[in-house]
Symmetry: C2
Subunit: 262 residues, 2 copies
DNA sequence: CGAAAATTTGATCAGCATCAATTTTAGTGG
DNA sequence: CCACTAAAATTGATGCTGATCAAATTTTCG
């Protein structure tokens, strides 16, 4: 059973609060064009961007759907979104009737959490240079899933202040970091575009790893939706997850494992 | 229909990798005693703790259940866990037969995401003093839900190095920050206990807010489980979420809203 | 009791914030 | 299309925060 009609299209101006923290988060929305984010606003007037939503991605699939939003949803550019409330209802009520959509929703939830974890590691463990590089690599990978990259280039319609809000850096330092990235030959910037000149080397220095499940979402799940740029291009298969250092079997104190089962 | 028998109990030594990143994350586990975390390990030997799991909480309810773990699950102390795989199966297959458990799982997922968002804000926007204070306040609130606080005191069985891994700080600086917290009269520390001397003032300076839905989980959902300390005590009702500044209606450029529906 | 882990303290230094000013870019109305 | 204005990017100078290294002390635990 496929989708007859989807929800309504909405457009928003840049920097509009779509949903404020605490408000009812009713339904997910597919981003048809533009960028958005989820953010927490502090009493000192600052904000921390928790999560970016790129064209082709869905916002409002996190655990707080159908409840009070855990953070504010904010547009970062002009934004066009498509209401997916009906699709979500179908997934909840008759998941087996819409297996592709059900799977796609799950994959997107997984990705959102993955990006959130990456965000914590970036901010918690990396220096400015690595943070910016890491985020650019992530943006490129995510946009390429929707066919919105042109080789190693992509449109980045965010101000350096917005990037700072997401990276835990001041806008000034984001600027200096970009300068350094350019001077070292890692990236090139146009008016609002970025080109990764040395993606592999950059991934190396930024400690960037492709997520395990990072194949493009099955677009067949959204038969009536076409993403802004139809530049869809085959995406190379990603390498499998790198297993980590084996330590589960031996104690840091050198003793055998004491796990017991009752 | 209630639960006849639950899964097996397992115990783990401190610092054991329960599940490595990329491994199959099969089933959630209730923590009967001890502390654990979810962490990403970097190639430079460091790690970032993404999420702490306290006694009475459930690990393995995130989006990656039944798939490849998005991070490693690691014990931080001696740990006793109870397998909830069977409960989860019931929730998935016949949620209406176990409404209390279904609701409890959902609440715990919500809380886990909430804590993750707090983690991003702490690390991204706060200074060391605020970070440590904020985390201590969160620990106290979370432990009190399981009745594991004694007034404003609680057991904190983590080393300062572990706290540093979670706060994006060096162990040395965690130490200095604790010293400052004590000198300023905000907290008192015992061998492995913490007492919050001025919780309200501390919440103020740390920008700490109770999450919206922070009432204790309905323990009736887990009839056969008793948490370590049966010191359960009524928890005061929390204040409703503070609504944020209204901005959705007016443009930063002073123009009327251009939202359109098609 | 003895050894290893954890905490504590001191000293030095790098990274980034902050403030301030200038230049460039983008958006608007004429 | 150009002039004008606000936003964004850029650059410089200065200072604070927290990392790092090293060593001493205390606590924990077998």
């Amino acid at each position: 059973m496929l989708i007859g009609q989807l929800g309504s299209v909405q457009t928003h101006r840049p920097n509009a609060r779509l949903i404020d923290e605490g408000q009812l988060l009713e339904r997910p929305r597919l981003i048809r064009s533009g960028w958005a984010c989820r953010a927490r606003y502090l009493t000192n007037g600052r904000r921390q961007i928790l999560n970016f939503y790129l064209p082709g991605e869905i916002m409002g699939l996190s655990a707080d759907v159908d409840g009070a939003a855990q953070a504010s949803y904010v547009s970062l550019t002009r934004l066009s979104t498509l209401d997916l409330g009906m699709l979500r209802s179908m997934v909840i009520e008759r998941p087996h009737d819409v297996p592709a959509v059900t799977a796609a929703f799950h994959v997107m939830r997984l990705h959102e959490e993955y990006h959130l974890l990456s965000q914590v590691v970036r901010i918690g463990q990396q220096k400015a240079f690595e943070r910016v590089a890491h985020l650019l690599l992530e943006f490129h990978a995510r946009l390429s899933k929707s066919g919105l990259t042109e080789g190693n280039s992509f449109q980045l319609p965010l101000t350096q202040e917005v990037l700072g809000d997401g990276l835990g850096l001041s806008a000034v330092h984001v600027n200096r970091t970009f300068k350094l990235l350019k001077r070292k030959g890692y990236v090139k910037t146009g008016r609002s575009s970025v080109t990764l000149l040395e993606p592999e080397a950059l991934s190396q220095v930024a400690g960037y790893r492709e997520p395990m499940d990072y194949r493009p979402v099955d677009r067949a799940a959204f038969p009536h939706i076409s993403i802004s740029e139809p530049t869809r291009r085959p995406v190379p298969a990603m390498r499998p997850p790198a297993a980590f250092g084996r330590d589960t079997g031996s104690s840091p104190n050198g003793r055998p494992i004491g796990d017991s089962v009752s």
